[in-house]
Symmetry: C2
Subunit: 98 residues, 2 copies
Amino acid sequence: MNQQLRAISELDRVIHEPGRLMIVALLSAFKECDFLYLLHETEMNKGNLSSHLARLEEAAYVEIQKTYRGKVPQTVLRLTSAGRKAFDGYRKGLKAAF
Amino acid sequence: MNQQLRAISELDRVIHEPGRLMIVALLSAFKECDFLYLLHETEMNKGNLSSHLARLEEAAYVEIQKTYRGKVPQTVLRLTSAGRKAFDGYRKGLKAAF
DNA sequence: GCATTCTAGTTTGCCATACAAACCTGTCGT
DNA sequence: ACGACAGGTTTGTATGGCAAACTAGAATGC
């Protein structure tokens, strides 16, 4: 297997999924976003966004912090350092592949 | 939705799948490969490779030509022009996203 | 003050699909 | 003739993405 193919086959599937890729890209740019911001920005529906976030949390790539803004519940998302590292690795992998 | 996210969300899922991405990348480099070459190069198993190729054929991205090399059956794969275009588009999408 | 609606998400159900194991068809060696 | 092998394909399963339905609590109408 050549180097290009190796790079492709080693891409992190958790990040590779476009829905999650959008989330991670946003979080890597903004450090901290709330659920609704991601919802509007990605144009996903709530269920979809929620389950992708759950998957990212399970992979320990994002932290999910439930809080309140006054009386309104608010879910704040943050990339963990593992998440940032994984995203950097993913981009390196892409670079190596193309 | 910003331009980066748009690019990500519009990535062609048929090509995006790493297994198929490897296949398409190889075919785009070599114009024509046989099944066994792809098999060894990608390190997939036969079933997996076969079904990814079927999917690419269904999308009209590759042509599958069954022939013989002597008495040994040989399956030759080739990117169609639609396939090449889709791959170019995919790479443009990636560039736009990162 | 009770019902309705709205906000902010989560859970459920279904369908598509990635993957590998089992299978199939023909050839070669002995 | 028969077992092993080559070259793929089909089948079965388990995962996973997606949207619809659900939940909990706050604001609003009557």
